[in-house]
């Protein structure tokens, strides 16, 4: 289960690639052969399961394309003493 999740406001994207260059798990890429309303190839998530919700993409994006969610820390189930 993915630890994080990004929502992409595709029409804001200018295809600059800054987010792609900082994603620590390398799951961002620019679309190929597809363009947004501005005429740029928008960013896509190639493997959503790997997202950690670190928000690096949101921190570097000049165009505020990302909304980021992260899975809440689950309380650790008490492990029964052996």
């Amino acid at each position: 289960m993915a630890k994080g999740m990004v929502i992409i406001d595709e029409d804001r994207c200018k295809g600059c690639g800054l987010c792609v260059s900082v994603c620590p798990v390398n799951i961002l890429r620019l679309a190929e052969g597809r363009f947004n309303a501005k005429g740029y190839p928008p960013v896509e998530v190639s493997d959503p399961e790997k997202c950690t919700g670190c928000a690096s993409c949101a921190i570097i994006c000049p165009d505020v394309v990302f909304t980021v969610y992260r899975r809440k820390r689950q309380p650790q189930p008490a492990t029964a003493a052996a």
Binding site: I7, G17, I60, T67, Y69
Partner: protein, 263 residues
Amino acid sequence: MATIDIPADMELVYQRPESLTPAHTHYCPGCTHGIIHRLIAEVLDELGLRERTIGIAPVGCSVLAYYYFNFDMAEAAHGRAPAMATGMKRTNPDKVVFTYQGDGDLAAIGTAEIVHSANRGELFTTIFVNNAIYGMTGGQMAPTTLPGQVSTSCPSGRDVELAGFPMHMAELLGGLPGTAYVTRQAVFDVRGIRRTKKALTTAFRAQLAGLGFTMVEVLSTCNTNWHMSVLGALEWAKDKMVGYYPLGDTKVSDAVRAMLEEK
């Protein structure tokens, strides 16, 4: 945007700050002006200052900043934002006032205004975006253009014998007694962006406490007029610009230090 179901066990960690309007910016792809706008908006949201803030836009690529910030904005003549901010802050001392200025605006045509405002210890904040070039007008040499750097008005590179040396504004203003907090930061990687945000928070907090003039110089890119790729511009900036313009604080007054130690 289509509605997307957010799993119940997911929490929001980043969303568009309220201090930005929904407008799309006109900046070139990868221009770091957008990052700096976002950071100012995040800081004003976090400090709960949106309803009390007046920003002043410059002449330069950020001339349309008044469309992008979701609080009161004014537009100054080229270089005159500090004069406007002086009047606004003196007549509205309860407001938070800042100027947003490029290096052509602040360090060329507006040098007198910024130097005297800082020296008088005016209680506003300046965000100084140093991209070492005139962006809006097509890439002419700025006072901050590096030695040897090519621009349309120095096509064989800046010759310091002819054009003088690039100006270190953070050092210059930090040396004046009226300033409380002056720092130079860069938005070339995630770490630098986080540090810049922290510096902006310190500057606005110092303004709220009335401690003196505050300025955050932010090294920024202009990939379009540097004639580089977006990532190439970042690499050049990290290598060449940071080498010439050292990052860090050039003024932290005792009062600002005490404020930072309090919390």
